[in-house]
């Protein structure tokens, strides 16, 4: 509950305690050096969103955000299991990254200018294209967000969602009363108890929430309007360009693997491929991985560990009934467009 205060205090402590910013060291990246000496990547994820990062019955965190973290661990350390997940809520996530508690934040966080300009943090890519949606109870008979005038809306504070809703209702001259609770389970229970007429967050999060209701899913309806762009991605600290590169190209490698048809099943055969694009991706040709400061075959570790983007999607998000839509590759009508690996 009070973790954001703690992180804030820790940030205060960290900035007070370190006499000078960490000087450039061996690999040229303080973060990569820390990860290697620790032998483990520390990744910030959510406190539990199905499809993104949610612990399964064995306590293993599953989801597209968790797998993106694993892919980075595979790229840096060559092993997807060398990872520790730190669950964070919406208000303590940035301070945790700023204070160095985590190396990487993959917590369905929206890429905005304000966050890059003010927080000293940087988005390294988009692993999910999303938008703000609204959920209502089917019994209410509401069919559109425009009918929500005067409604009470449950939303988590400190999110881009809360700003998007305030803007949208103002623009459409509608009134609403917010109920703001930090803890995700608590806000969902509050909505289910009837304190709010509507629950708003990213459409994917709503789909996941609806899915978690099991047989009662029919009682909840997603309204058709998507009122904002919410590109969700991975965040790193500013000032460590090498680690930034690794995170960014980890995602691109997964997308390129999908585009080139490389999967976790055929990756070994693909190493013998004659296609130069595939050979460069897998590090059979050239030394692009080494130039970036990781193993030359980093993409092989990633693909063997978590698969290409499509495999990751099918394993994590697809079971929630979320269509691939704009999250498809560019040549299939989507927005994912990995730059050439050469």
């Amino acid at each position: 509950m009070k973790r954001h205060i703690l992180s804030g205090a820790m940030l205060l402590g960290a900035t007070l305690a370190f006499a000078a910013p960490a000087a450039a060291q061996g690999s040229g990246s303080a973060t990569i050096d820390t990860i290697k000496s620790r032998g483990m990547l520390v990744c910030g994820v959510s406190t539990g969103v199905a499809g993104f990062s949610l612990a399964d019955s064995k306590g293993v965190v599953q989801g597209i955000d968790a797998d993106t973290c694993r892919a980075v661990a595979a790229a840096v350390l060559g092993d997807v299991s060398k990872i520790r997940f730190v669950p964070l809520n919406t208000t303590n996530r940035f301070t945790a990254l700023q204070a160095g508690e985590i190396d990487l934040l993959v917590r369905s966080t929206t890429w905005t200018l304000g966050r890059e300009a003010n927080l000293g943090l940087l988005f390294a890519g988009i692993n999910f294209y999303d938008g703000t949606g609204f959920m209502v109870k089917s019994a209410s008979g509401v069919k559109s967000v425009k009918e929500l005038d005067g409604a009470t809306v449950c939303v988590q504070p400190g999110t881009s969602t809360e700003l998007a809703i305030a803007d949208y209702f103002r623009l459409n001259k509608l009134k609403f009363t917010p109920v703001l609770i930090q803890d995700q389970n608590e806000i969902q229970n509050t909505y289910l108890a009837g304190r709010c007429d509507s629950y708003s967050t990213d459409a994917s999060g709503l789909a996941a929430f609806r899915f978690q209701q099991g047989p009662k899913a029919e009682e909840q309806v997603l309204l058709p309007e998507i009122i904002s762009k919410e590109p969700l991605g991975m965040m790193v600290r500013k000032g460590d360009d090498k680690f930034f590169d690794v995170v960014r190209w980890t995602l691109f490698a997964m997308l390129q693997a999908e585009e080139s048809g490389v999967t976790s099943k055929n990756v070994d055969e693909m190493l013998k491929s004659t296609n130069p694009d595939i050979r460069r991706l897998l590090g059979a040709e050239g030394d692009l991985g080494k130039a970036m400061g990781v193993d030359n075959k980093f993409a092989v570790s990633i693909i063997k560990g978590v698969g290409n983007y499509a495999e990751m999607w099918d394993r994590t998000v697809a079971p929630l009934g979320i269509p691939r839509g704009i999250n498809n590759l560019w040549n299939k009508g989507g927005l994912h467009y990995p730059p050439p690996i050469r």
């Binding site: 009070k2 005067g150 108890a193």
Partner: protein, 403 residues
């Protein structure tokens, strides 16, 4: 009481012969000055170093600093505010002010209610009535042992168990109890009400003056003239007269169910109710024990002596025991008031937007964690110091009664 008071503390102090300050280590005054300069200088140096270092590190990490964000448009929605707030034009500074007012709203109401409830419970536990004493003891022992956060979540969940606005519970005309909160009718405020309020203030002054003159009369003649009819006239009759003379305007705004929720009237939100209720119930269990210990600290002889004078037990409690018990009660009571105020920060758990909730949203949206935490610290420091000052002043007044 008796005539001449000889208090050695009030006798003029014989001044020590003035001696020039010598710059020698054997002069205690010189030594004191040197040590004080050294300590102050060290503290100033440490503070300067920490501030410099923080600023440099924040700049190196490219994290925005400064308090300029207070003047920027907030854009964050706020559920309940005592002053006007519109996310499209209001600033972060105003949002934080609303947070401060919301915290005070809980603290002030909470302290008053917890004191009343706690005092009643403390007295009840000492009651000769077996049932009342046991019930009060059970209340104290159970409530004191449960974590306050758990209690807040319990009350919040319980309030959500109320029916929806359409099926709301409707005990009195214009009063609706639903899971959206308590809706009550409000009287539309017009100018004559200000005059009536002014008349009430005059009435309070008049009542105090009359009560003092009654005390003087009692000391002179032994008979205390009745105070309550005069007080009633001053406090109720006079304002009503003024209000009536100005045309007696009275328009009630009733809450009406429209669409999703009620419009019109005033709302007490479930978040505020749960927080205040939870804190009052929790803190009152501690206050009950403090009051009980205070009463027990008054020697039994005082009760017996008052009884021998023919006083009733209620009068004994009010006139003899409580004034003496207060000396024991006030210092720990101050701690409980401070605890209640600080516990109000648990509001974030149940979605009440107090200063911590709004400041943490602000620091998250602006990324300025240090400024946000500093704002929270400053607010609690100011509130806590004010409570302490007030209670210490009151304590000093009470303590003087002892002879």
């Amino acid at each position: 009481m008796s005539g001449a008071v000889i208090d050695p503390r009030q006798a003029p102090i014989r001044a020590a012969p003035k001696k020039a300050l010598s710059l020698s280590w054997s002069d205690p005054r010189f030594r004191n000055i040197v040590w004080q300069v050294v300590v102050l200088g060290t503290v100033a140096l440490i503070v300067w170093y920490l501030v410099q270092n923080t600023t440099r590190n924040l700049a190196a990490r490219r994290i925005a600093t400064g308090f300029a964000f207070l003047g920027r448009t907030a854009g964050i929605p706020i559920g309940e505010a005592l002053i006007d707030y519109d996310p499209s034009i209001s600033t972060y500074g105003r949002a934080l002010l609303i947070g401060l007012l919301n915290t005070l709203k809980v603290a002030v109401v909470g302290v008053v209610l917890a004191t009343i409830l706690g005092t009643l419970l403390g007295i009840a536990r000492l009651s000769k009535n077996w049932l009342i004493a046991r019930l009060s003891a059970i209340y104290v022992e159970v409530i004191r042992d449960l974590p306050v956060l758990l209690q807040l979540l319990f009350w919040y969940t319980a309030l959500q168990g109320l029916p929806t606005p359409k099926n709301s519970f409707h005990p009195l005309p214009g009063v609706f109890l639903s899971n959206r909160g308590i809706k009550i009718p409000v009287v539309e405020w017009e100018t004559p009400f200000w005059w009536a309020l002014a008349a009430f203030v005059v009435g309070v002054i008049g009542t105090v003056a009359w009560s003092r003159s009654a005390t003087r009369q009692q000391e002179a003649t032994g008979v205390r003239p009745k105070v309550w009819p005069v007080a009633l006239g001053f406090l109720v009759g006079f304002p009503v007269l003024i209000w009536g003379a100005l045309g007696a305007p009275f328009a009630v705004e009733m809450p009406v169910l429209r669409g999703f929720n009620f419009t019109g009237g005033a709302t007490v939100s479930p978040e505020y109710s749960a927080l205040t209720l939870g804190l009052v119930i929790y803190t009152s269990s501690y206050i009950a024990e403090i009051v009980r210990s205070g009463i027990l600290a008054v020697p039994t002889g005082q009760w017996e002596a008052a009884g021998a004078l023919g006083m009733r037990s209620g009068t004994v409690l009010r006139k003899i025991v409580l004034p003496q018990a207060l000396r024991v009660i006030i210092p720990p009571m101050t701690s409980q008031y401070l605890n209640l105020t600080k516990n109000s920060s648990l509001a974030v758990a149940i979605g009440y937007q107090d200063i911590v909730s709004i400041a943490s949203t602000t620091l998250n949206q602006t990324g300025q964690a240090i400024e946000g935490i500093a704002a929270i610290m400053l607010v609690y420091l100011i509130i806590s110091l004010s409570i302490s000052l007030l209670m210490n002043w009151y304590n000093a007044r009470i303590a003087l009664v002892e002879r």
